[in-house]
Structures are given as C-alpha cells and as structure tokens.
C-alpha cells in the first residue's frame, strides 16, 4: 500500500516531472498566461496521462517490442483528440484560448515518457497512480507559474481583480513581461533553485569541474 502510494505522491515534489526531469516545458510556457487556461490544460493532461497509462498497462503483455512506441503514441494521440473534442464541446471559449496547445499534448515528452518508462512494465493500478501523480506534479508547477503570471501580469486571479491596475483606476502597474513567454522561464528557474536549495538531493553532479590553477598567470 505504501509502495503504491509512493507512485502517487513521489512525482509531486520528490520526482516532479517539470522541475526535476524538466519535461513538458513547452506547454508550461504557453498556457500559463492565466490561471484558468493553466487549470484546463492541467486537467486535460492529467486525464490523458492517467487513461493512457491505464490502457497501455492493460495491454502491455501483448505489445510487440518492435512497434511499441507507435502503439503507445497512437493510443495517446487518440486520447488527446477525444479530450480536445470534449473541451471544444463543453468549454468552447477555453478551447479558443488554448488553441493548439491541447493538441500538442501528444508531443509532451511527459506522456510518452511515463508510458514507456512505467506503464510498459507495471500493472494497471500502479500505472494509473503513477499517471495521476505525474499529472498532479505537472499541475502543481503550472498552477504556481500561472498564478504568479496572472497576478503580476494582469492583477487578477481566475479573472477576479486582486491588484487593481492603473487601467482600471487602481495603483498597480502590470508587468507586461509576465504576459510573455520568457517570464515563465524565469519563474521556473527560480522554482527549481528554491526546490533544490531545500532538497539538495535533487542537485545534479556537474558534468565538468572547472579547474583552478593558482600559479597560472594571465597572459
């Protein structure tokens, strides 16, 4: 039981797919200009990840090794199309704002990565929990980034005014940088720095040591 639960909460902080494995960055940049788009994207990705993991895990014993990647990507792509259709049917305005990024879940390394690394070798229940855990880990980071960007970029959260902006007669000058993609890089970088300061285990060993020769003089 404890082992099973580890699949669920492990990826949320200790093995977070975004901050430790640096996967799914593209969508994390694109959809986090507001919290509501980030939330819908998180729900879509988690749904695809869980159902994809369940299906691939259920038929894992019968997937021929030679075509395993194409089988996985076919299943994932179908799930993404279905998710996209559902969003277009029930949350049309949101689907217009997310434009192509729901469709691009197919190319999110996170989904194929979990299918290949976990669902192919584990039974259905742990695979579902692993999918859910990774989905929540991704969601946690997107919600943090989305909240910061919406709050400081537009002064609102989920559309409700928190910081009255000068355009609406308030005092807050919105940071336009927050509405642009680079700000998500800065926030992600700061998040990774914070997490690795608190948990030094996550710090990767340097690929190269910088050698310092005390007796060497500048030419």
């Amino acid at each position: 039981m404890r082992q099973a639960l580890r699949h669920l909460y492990g990826p949320i902080i200790d093995n977070n797919p975004v901050t430790l494995q640096i996967l799914g960055i593209c969508s994390a940049l694109a959809v986090t200009t507001s919290l509501s788009t980030a939330l819908v994207m998180c729900a879509a990705l988690t749904a695809v990840l869980v159902s994809g993991n369940i299906m691939i895990s259920a038929i894992r014993a019968h997937i021929p090794t030679t075509i395993r990647l194409i089988v996985q990507i076919t299943i994932i792509a179908s799930l993404v199309i279905v998710t996209d259709q559902i969003i277009q049917a029930f949350a049309f305005e949101m689907s217009e704002r997310l434009s192509i990024f729901v469709g691009l879940i197919v190319t999110n390394c996170l989904v194929l990565g979990r299918a290949e690394a976990f669902a192919m070798h584990n039974p259905v229940v742990p695979s579902a929990l692993d999918g859910l855990g990774n989905g929540l880990g991704y969601s946690l980071i997107l919600v943090i980034v989305g909240s910061i960007r919406e709050l400081f970029g537009a002064g609102t959260l989920l559309g409700f005014t928190i910081l009255p902006t000068i355009y609406g007669g308030g005092w807050f000058v919105p940071l336009n940088l927050m509405m642009l993609a680079p700000s998500a890089f800065f926030i992600l970088g700061l998040l990774i720095w914070t997490i690795r300061s608190i948990r030094p285990v996550q710090v990767e060993p340097a690929d190269f040591e910088i050698s310092i020769q005390p007796d060497r003089r500048a030419p």
């Binding site: 038929i59 997937i63 075509i67 089988v71 299943i75 279905v82 259709q85 277009q88 029930f90 049309f92």
Partner: protein, 267 residues
C-alpha cells in the same frame, strides 16, 4: 479441421510470442481500429454541441462587430427588433431573391452543386473554385437611406478557408468594419487577423478609386493611403488572401452586380 471460432482464434493470436510477425500485424490493426472507432465516435457524438458553440460564437462576433461601429448600434437599437434587415441575394442576377431569410438554409445551398457557379480560373483570385448563387446580406436603413451593408466574404488563405463579414457604409465604398468569423491560420501569425487591433485598421478605408477600380490591399509594413491596410509580420500570405477576398467579392463574381443594383436604387 481449421478452427473458425473468432474468440478461439483471437486467443491463439494472443498466445503467439510477441516477436511473431502475425501478432505484430494483428496488434497494430487492432489498436488502430479501436482508436479510430473511439476518435470517430467522439467527433460524431460531440459535433452537434460544437456546431452550436460555433454558431453562438459567430453570432457574438456579428454583435461585437456592430458594436464597434459608432452610431450603428444605437441606430439598430432605435429601430427595434428588425433594425438589421436580412436579404437573400441572387449573385447571378444581382437582384434580391424572393426567399424568406428565416427559411434560408445556407449550408444546403453551399452543398448543392445546382446552386453553385464554377468560377473560371483567371477570375478565381480567392481560390474558392465555386461560389454559391444565393447568399444572405444584412442591411441597415435609416428611413429610406441605406446606412450599412454587411457582406459575407470568404477566401482560401494560407492553410484554411477564411470567412469574414465586410461592412460597408451607405456610399458602398467606405469600409465600416471588417470582422473575421472563421479561420484556421497559423496561430500567432496569420490567426492574428481576428484580433480586434488588426480589424480596427479597416474602418474608413476606401474599396475602389474614382474610376471604379478595386484598390484595397493589405501591404507589407505600414499603410500609406486610404486603400492600404498594414500587413501582419510573418503573415504575408494570409494578408494577401484577405485582400483577394475583398477584390473577389466586390467584383463581378461576388457582390458587384448587387452593389450596382443598390446604387441604381439611388441608395
């Protein structure tokens, strides 16, 4: 005696080693078939909802466009429910057709080859191939004076068919508004034609010069006169397509004859 019970056959295939060529083929086909079924089912079951959403969004765009034009929204509100008059135009004759707009089924007209006219190659600058003979046009009149004409225009863009409303002022030559209602151009580039900031460049532009030649174009960079509209960087082909839409639909195969009829009425 060969076993023909499909269930037993299926079990036998599953029992094959994963490396076997037959099992590889069977699994590939089975996965594709199941996925195709799921995707088709989702798309067919959800399409009525999506159509309704799209129709509502187009209606909202029409409303939004009317609201961008100063005076027009008030005029319609002042005229009451039928302030916005809808006329079905027969593009072959340039005359209003005697069809009740309420019962007009545009999708059926577009689908039926009988009610479409092929556009000869050199004339087909919008790349459409054919155009429906009957299309709805919206008019706003103040007393007897025509104040606004809203024409539906369409064009094959860079990677989608662009549909838009072109609103003309009562002189039938000055653009009152331009509003994209449907497009699938490159997100972030061509798709920016539906941004209000770009659509706001249209009002006040002139379609044709004094000689009647249609001059309105989308140019690279900044517009310099009343016939030019700023292009969007990285969306040259989409911009050209929108310009072609105006050229085509104001011309002889588009609404040209109907606009002549309106002018003949003394506006």
């Amino acid at each position: 005696m060969a076993e023909i019970n499909p269930l037993v056959l299926w079990r036998r295939i599953l029992a094959l080693p994963n490396e076997s060529r037959i099992k590889t083929l069977v699994i590939a086909f089975a996965v594709s078939a199941v996925c195709a079924l799921v995707v088709s089912a989702a798309s067919v079951l959800l399409s009525p909802l999506q159509e309704a959403n799209r129709a509502a969004a187009q209606e909202a765009r029409m409303q939004a466009m009317l609201e961008t034009m100063p005076g027009i929204a008030d005029l319609i509100a002042g005229l009451g429910g039928d302030g916005l008059e809808t006329v079905i135009v027969d593009l072959r004759t340039g005359e209003p057709a005697d069809i009740d707009p309420a019962t007009f089924d545009e999708a059926a007209v577009r689908a039926d080859p009988e009610t479409n006219t092929a556009i000869p190659g050199p004339q087909d600058i919008a790349g459409l191939g054919q155009r429906p003979d009957l299309l709805p046009v919206h008019l706003v009149r103040e007393g007897e004076t025509l104040r606004l004409v809203i024409l539906p225009v369409s064009v094959v863009g860079y990677q989608s068919t662009i549909r838009a409303h072109l609103a003309l002022q009562g002189d039938l030559n000055t653009v009152a508004a331009f509003s994209v209602i449907e497009q699938g151009e490159t997100p972030g580039l061509g798709a920016r034609i539906e941004e209000p900031a770009w659509e706001a460049l249209w009002p006040g532009k002139q379609i044709a010069d004094d000689d009647g030649e249609i001059r309105l174009t989308v140019v690279r960079g900044r517009a310099t006169d009343a016939y030019e509209i700023d292009g969007i960087t990285g969306a040259t082909r989409t911009g050209n397509a929108v310009a072609a839409a105006v050229q085509f639909w104001m011309g002889p195969y588009g609404f040209g004859p109907y606009l002549e009829t309106l002018r003949g009425e003394g506006i």
